[in-house]
Symmetry: D2
Subunit: 380 residues, 4 copies
């Protein structure tokens, strides 16, 4: 082999680049010469992550989008025509963003429940979508705790002991027995109420304006009945924040409703999902601006995105989950896929953070929704 450096290789390796555009932002990390870097606060950390790249940057961008969706203000209600007086308003009467938050069942099983409850308690979100477990585990935790476990605990041993595993968490099956005791009288009352209006309305009992049971109405009732300040549902009821759960039968509540059909036969509670799709879609259409906080994937993600199609797209979107796009799942789809459907506006601010929600949501909330140290007293 000769002593000449091969030109083909040097041309490829040492190819010149164009001048770096002025608007390029340098990658840099935490400045450890700053005393604030020690045991740093959430906002310092998140701000430092902005120029770190990879998912650190995405976390920082998620915080920016959340801050923007929370701080947006439109016209004052006094300036609006009557038919425009809809959507969310702040205390001074200015239009603000309608925020749809979706979370999967497992997040309520986890300690994130306290963070989710904090957001609902302080009216920081406008509407919620969850799956069945996200409803029932919130209630059950008011009756008995969930415990820490391990991902590797063998299923047979656990079943023998009546211990149910959710990832690295354990829920004793007695919790579900307690839940049954709690819910059956409520279901009885719900059935009575249904019968009552059926008797009153007769053949018209299926009309639009009848207070027919829907998942969101049932959840609101549960929130009222549980009457426990640790509960997401309690505060949603208090603060009139609707919780949607079209497949509410897919879990323990479904088991209880199933048993109840035998107990109540030939009567049966009916849960209508058409009225609820009208309700969530209407919230989307009425919103001045719409923001999405999607924690997890599957139904809760698609349902909020689909509702936002009714307004030709959300204005802000934060997705956090572990789904990947390569399998064509909606769970794994990037925000840009939702843009193609008109579920997110082309000009919207959006980001997807690829991670387990529990890792990052406490930090994000500490740097956004729960960032203001001065107003602690009034938040109590």
């Amino acid at each position: 082999m000769s002593g000449n450096i091969p030109g083909l290789a040097t041309d490829a390796v040492l190819k010149e680049s164009i001048p770096v555009p002025d608007n390029f932002e340098e990658v840099k990390g935490i400045d450890y010469s700053n005393p604030e870097s020690r045991n740093s606060k959430a906002k310092f950390l998140v701000n430092s992550m902005k120029t770190m790249g990879f998912q650190a940057s995405s976390v920082s961008k998620a915080c920016d989008i959340i801050n923007e969706m929370r701080s947006w203000r439109g016209k004052n209600i006094s300036e609006l025509e009557d038919h425009e007086k809809k959507g969310e308003f702040d205390d001074e009467g200015f239009q603000k963003t309608t925020i749809f938050m979706g979370f999967t069942s497992n997040l309520i099983s986890s300690g994130l429940r306290d963070t989710l409850r904090y957001l609902v308690q302080h009216k920081m979100v406008s509407a919620i979508v969850s799956t069945a477990g996200g409803i029932e585990e919130d209630l059950i935790k008011c009756l008995a705790p969930t415990y820490m476990g391990e991902f590797s605990l063998p299923g047979k041993d656990l079943r023998d002991k009546g211990m149910n595993r959710i990832g690295n968490l354990i829920v004793p099956n007695d919790n579900y027995c307690k839940f049954e005791e709690w819910i059956v009288p409520i279901l009885d009352t719900m059935l009575e109420e249904q019968e009552q209006f059926a008797k009153e309305k007769g053949a018209d009992c299926l009309d639009n304006d009848v207070p027919f049971w829907t998942p969101s109405r049932m959840i609101d009732r549960f929130g009222k009945e549980i009457n426990d300040e640790s509960s997401v549902l309690y505060w949603a009821h208090k603060n009139k924040i609707p919780i949607f759960c079209p497949a509410i039968t897919d879990g323990s509540i479904g088991d209880m409703l199933f048993f109840h059909t035998f107990k109540a036969s030939p009567k049966q509670i009916r849960l209508d999902i058409v009225q609820d799709i009208r309700r969530i879609n209407s919230l989307s259409m009425e919103a001045s601006k719409a923001g999405m906080l999607i924690l997890g994937g599957g139904l809760i993600k698609h349902h909020i995105c689909n509702a936002c199609l009714m307004r030709n797209g959300a204005d802000y979107a934060v997705f956090i989950n572990t789904g990947q796009e390569f399998d064509g799942s909606d769970a794994g789809a990037r925000p840009d896929e939702a843009v193609s459907w008109g579920k997110i506006k082309a000009e919207a601010k959006s980001v997807k953070v690829y991670t387990d929600v529990t890792i990052v949501w406490p930090l994000i909330v500490a740097a956004t929704f729960a960032s203001d140290e001065s107003d602690f007293d009034e938040k109590k």
Copy 2:
């Protein structure tokens, strides 16, 4: 450093192992000295994968479990008491496995729809659970095609053109306009029928025994109306295979139902999900043996598992999806988590294959459900 080999290290590195137990199976792969290895058939390939390890072995195990759940036979119906005459029977009257198949919406969007339809057409499954897209995309494909695209196509351009992206697939929005034209008259008729029985029954119109609209009943009607042999729903209707979809409002059908509530107001179609949970749970309890084929994650996985809790666990379970357990999601949970809940029996045969379903389901079906070359004629 001295010339002596360090004993600490050699003891650790050269630690002796116990004798290899007799039942240990050697890892080995394809025997390329066998002419069958060339352009090999599905069964040869899958059999060779059994001892390959990693997910190759899991694919092979999935085939074994499918073959076992399909071939199991119990008593003849003539030997059974009347109250035992439930569940599935083969043509000679022997008990067989009730097979619950769940698939996510995206699989119907993909070319797997033909494979799923094949299974339904030939009565190879007993009940189905899907999400809204899994219902409506099957119908829409009878009206207009879905097309190949790219994961990287920009959302804004697509929206401008009215082209919706699902992973690397494209659905023109006109398809949904055609779907609206098709479905509105059917919804009108469904509402009429609902009004009819409400008039007849009056206050009793909510009772158990009323043919109230449920997702599964609506889907069956759609299958009848579409009347197209390429459709999963068509064959499900023909073969009386129920399709469950508790959140059927979460997609285009929901959009259409939403619009219909305005058109029909104050009337409104009601879709009850309580009756459907009773229906799927009953199928589980009546089954002689229960098998699960879970293609994807989320609702469709949880719903079938939950139904199988009613019988204290499925006997066979095949999970195929890309979910991981580390985030505590049900989507990512291993079969052993379902064992802890009593959703899969401790002694059941189960496997999870970690992959996009489209990669592996065609091969698995070719090696199991569609493996018999001799009986092609009668299958037509």
Copy 3:
């Protein structure tokens, strides 16, 4: 709520799409009316997957790219100037593609080893990159088998028994003891040879043209010594296919070399990695066309890509692994990231298949490298 369908929503939902371009390809799956669909052959299956979408399409595209890289032919050697007579040629003297194949260690531990060996045995690849385990496990399997295990086997029990786990595989530690017995005499000889040329050359013993030990030269020696037709290394030696492994010390071979430094002290085998980077880069520069088959991620992926930068990009690239791009890893990078670096040509044919390699490589090979049923005899 009024009876008028909201225009905002209908405009968004029923947005018209542009006419479907003529070149759009319909999504469709397997045609089960075709008898070939029963227990179907690999090529039928892969061809049917082309229009299925998601990763099924990617598998089919991978096969197309492999077929194209294998069938490409350039000029005949008789037409070339002397300095152009480099790269790979077929038996008739026509230029063909230089194929770089990379695979991670675990694939040799798995049953895929037989498939990888088949490719090397029949000279279907031109050069290989692997990691240390990919070298030593091939040798060790000639001495004692690897066994099937389970992902969930507890580590402590296994260590007590001297059983090492690789995913769902088990390697008894005695295998490594046997490996030590096999390798020590070879290392002794290698050291002698090194001393010999050092004595001969004196101060010039570090020059370019000295047969200094490098990972690829050591691997070639091992391939010769193992003398076993089941071995990848054996056939690589036989067929003069270089195997590169810059970090060959990172595993059992490294352990043995470490021990050997004590035994041989003050002498020591030296393994130079500079000569090997010159060797692999030269192969890339000399190639008429370059193709990449990347099975897994990490070093083996980056090393082949980096070598292809020396020719301003590969012409064909197939990546198969489970890495995701969101963490900014090279393992997870899409081919398009390599295009930005000049490691893959902008006009190259490339695809990434997102899956465990063991699921899909047997099928891909059956449909490409091992697809020709007619030429079985001569392949023996």
Copy 4:
């Protein structure tokens, strides 16, 4: 259907559980009634995550393990026999943990470089393993910046502009041209030094005790030459922390070495990897306790684990990466797999956090290595 609740189902659903063991820990999250929850500090956050479950708990456990490995102290050096005076000692002469930190190349490209440098600057780790990019990008960043980009930027456009993409980061190719200018004179000097000792030693120039170039020695030289306080390599040189990189030719340094073989021919720098395996393994054997911090997967993970086999296992292990075990990769293997190999002790404290490192490492460091607010001044 009768009015009796089915016993099979109620028995399964309402199965009693054993009493909850006393040592069970309740799942709970952040206490938002605590003012510290607002814009919370890293330690508060991480402590609150301990009982959240899923990966939040794993992050908290990682911090506990790090604190434990950092605070462990053994005997005082004055109590030890001469042959025991090895491993790491604190300023008072007490034995402390030898901490091996591995990180992948992309983390140096990201803003995490500042965090990694902080750890090296303050001697918080004992030895480092990285891949080629982890070495060269640290040096290159001293010459010119890396910039923020997007994952979706098209490769062809970037190549035309000479802009290289690493996930969502951009490195102008001119940076590599600057790197070439910087490194060539250093390589020239290194070659001169090599020639010098070869001349002096003659045939003995390959012996153990010759300062032959190895990756770790070359990296140390680079750290000295770069002489820049922003650099990881600079501080590693200053603080005598070895950096191992067996495959250092796999990147831009390899390109430069490749070119240099032509320039210097017939002379050639030789880089020996056998001496380096002896060096890292010796560090492991000499350690009083060994801890592993593995940031990413692939070579850097395996190399540290393998070194720890030489001591029959690490005492502490923290893995953070996105790898999954299902494909049998070492990258995705859980710590328990390393236990089976003797690379982690059975009684060691270990955890794997499943996430992109950039999301979580800044928080972890803020809550551990950089948690002490009081000692800021002395840390400057």
